[in-house]
């Protein structure tokens, strides 16, 4: 029962964001960047519903992929915005464990109030994001390289400081009940509260991209950053803000993981680097920027999570999941290219013909 009430908002919320006031025509549906990812999601869901049996479609099954999707989704959304603006952020993979370790060391090892730990962890994400953004705009080094560098630098710092401060690479954390309920607990015994945080991030990012002028700025920056700057967009400020938001979101997930599992490890989070990119690309965002949607990113995240978790409900060896994700990624990009071409060649005549 609970699964239904929970599953609905996460799937429907973005759809509400996307639907324009007018009734969509066939042409306008085809034009939407998330069309390819919707087809992918339906295909994957159907596949695992058939081969995964009843347990996959049960509340427990839904919880397993929604939990994965929520953590990935919170990171994938700001990473997707960055990608639409023409940048990449690989450093999320080490900001996440760094933030986990920060809250565990501050509030677990040094027994500071949990609020201090939370603020320290989130602050760390913002700082790393700020440094990323500043390096990208000042040095003009591609963000791939800059964030690859900070990925390693932050991982090294995390490991180094953890060993110096606590003598260990794993720290226990006992958090206050309120913090635990809000940030790292299960609802109904199965669903992580991060699912609700994910919905919140979807709404915020959806608003930014579709309904605020900043969304236009982000699209323009990804399309052509020089023209965007000439049009009066403060591209430097937007770039830094975007990197800070992806740092913040990665730190948020790291923090909530530490609270959820009551401990933090130095080596968590590396999987998020590529998983977030895969989710965003499956969601129809153009890797080189300038094109993409929030609905697409959400669909891509769900697709990735269903493949990742759904495999356990089938009789297949779990190792095949990576193969499926690889093939899926390629198919998704091909399909998204096709739909983008259709969007570019779409003419009003199609609309009248369809009537």
């Amino acid at each position: 029962m609970k699964s239904e009430t929970l599953k609905q908002p996460s799937v429907n919320a973005p759809a509400v964001l996307a639907s324009p006031a007018s009734i969509p025509s066939v042409g306008s549906l085809v034009r939407r960047p998330e069309m390819g990812s919707l087809i992918g999601l339906v295909a994957v869901f159907t596949f695992f519903s058939v081969f995964g049996g009843e347990t996959f479609v049960s509340a427990g099954g839904a919880a397993s992929w929604l939990n994965v999707a929520s953590e990935l989704g919170i990171i994938a959304l700001p990473v997707g915005l960055l990608m639409i603006a023409g940048h990449l952020d690989l450093s999320v993979g080490s900001v996440l464990p760094a933030s986990s370790m920060t809250i565990a060391i501050v509030s677990g090892h040094f027994r500071a109030p949990i609020v201090v730990g939370i603020l320290a962890a989130l602050g760390l994400g913002l700082i790393v994001g700020f440094i990323n953004g500043l390096l990208v705009i000042r040095t003009r080094v591609p963000s791939f390289v800059v964030t690859l560098a900070t990925l390693f630098a932050v991982a090294g710092l995390t490991l180094g400081f953890s060993v110096i401060l606590t003598g260990s690479t794993s720290v226990a954390l006992k958090s206050a009940p309120i913090a635990k309920q809000l940030l790292g607990d299960y609802v109904g015994g199965k669903f992580e509260v991060t699912i609700f945080w994910w919905i919140a991030v979807v709404l915020i990012v959806g608003f930014i991209l579709n309904f605020s002028r900043y969304g236009n700025w982000i699209l323009a920056m990804g399309g052509d950053s020089v023209s965007a700057r000439n049009a009066g967009i403060p591209t430097d400020r937007v770039t830094i803000a975007l990197f800070m938001s992806s740092g913040l979101c990665a730190a948020f997930v790291g923090m909530s993981q530490a609270i959820l599992y009551n401990s933090a490890q130095v080596a968590a989070g590396q999987s998020f680097i590529f998983n977030s990119i895969i989710a965003v690309v499956i969601g129809g965002v153009l890797l080189t920027g300038g094109y993409g949607s929030v609905v697409g990113i959400v669909l891509g995240t769900l697709t990735f999570s269903i493949v990742n978790q759904g495999i356990f409900y089938t009789g297949f060896d779990a190792n095949w999941a990576s193969l499926i994700i690889g093939v899926l990624l390629l198919l998704a990009v091909l399909m998204n290219n096709t739909f983008r071409m259709m969007a570019l060649t779409y003419a009003p005549r199609t609309k009248t013909k369809a009537r």
Binding site: R213, A220, A228, G232, P348
Partner: protein, 272 residues
């Protein structure tokens, strides 16, 4: 007579040891089309970049309405009403018409505590402005810019410049990539802009196009102004000859080369 809208006097520009522009003086009046003709590498694009604030001239002055101006950035140039439209028009092929029309100047409306991008109004204005330039095929501002034809993109970019109050419109080879019909349409739009009292600087290779819309012509050769004349003062053959140079060009090249060697990179002063 009133002072010209935009006046350049003795503009020089060099990149390192290479003189790109040498003592360029030009005037553009309201409601006139100045055609800037010249071969590749003649310095046309450098001149545009100076006008649109991308580069600063090494020496020389720019005046608008009789007042001296200097542009530190493209933003400063557009604040003075100078708009540049490049060869392929819209530079955001994957953005919607409405969104790219208003990039950096999005209309917003209040929605509770939030300022919301007014997509409907943006689309309506963009479509209407394009319609005024004779593009009637487009009725949906949500279409992507990339789905427009080359001429329609030029129209969109010109409509945008006109809407945001450009007084000087720089068109960088707007017809170069277009078919005959589309080019004719763009030329008609240029005439429309001229009628609105906008000063148009029209950069082109195509002498026929230039003669169709231009009031005033300047030919650039190797960074120097080789000719400056009004409509009717020279025939098409003469202009083509001037641009391409023929034998003259080869001679000139040899001459300039030898001169450059002996004068540390400065081309010869203009004669005649």
């Amino acid at each position: 007579m009133t002072s010209p809208l935009l006046k350049l006097t003795g503009i020089n520009k060099s990149f390192g040891p290479i003189d790109v522009l040498h003592d360029i003086s030009l005037e553009v009046n309201r409601g006139e089309v100045l055609c800037l003709l010249g071969d590749n590498g003649a310095g046309k694009s450098t001149l545009i970049k100076i006008l649109s604030g991308v580069h600063k001239p090494a020496s020389g002055t720019m005046e608008m309405d009789g007042k001296g101006v200097a542009f530190d950035s493209p933003r400063a140039a557009s604040d003075h009403g100078i708009a540049t439209v490049h060869q392929f028009g819209g530079t955001f092929p994957l953005m919607s018409i409405g969104r790219s029309f208003f990039v950096g100047a999005e209309p917003t409306r209040r929605c509770g505590p939030l300022n919301v991008y007014d997509r409907k109004r943006a689309n309506e204005i963009a479509v209407e402005e394009m319609r005024q330039l004779g593009i009637t095929r487009i009725d949906d501002g949500d279409r992507l810019v990339g789905s427009l034809s080359g001429g329609e993109r030029q129209a969109l970019a010109i409509a945008r410049a006109v809407y945001f109050g450009a007084s000087v419109l720089i068109l960088d080879e707007p017809t170069a990539a277009l078919g005959v019909k589309e080019a004719a349409h763009v030329l008609r739009i240029v005439l429309q802009a001229r009628q609105k009292g906008i000063a148009v600087i029209f950069i082109t290779h195509n002498v026929v196009h230039a003669l169709t819309v231009g009031n005033h012509f300047a030919v650039l050769i190797r960074g120097s102004k080789a000719a400056d004349f009004r409509k009717g003062e020279k025939s098409r053959e003469e202009i083509t000859d001037l641009m391409a140079g023929g034998e003259q060009m080869a001679e000139l090249e040899a001459e300039v080369e030898s001169y450059v060697e002996s004068h540390r990179g400065h081309p010869p002063p203009l004669v005649g």
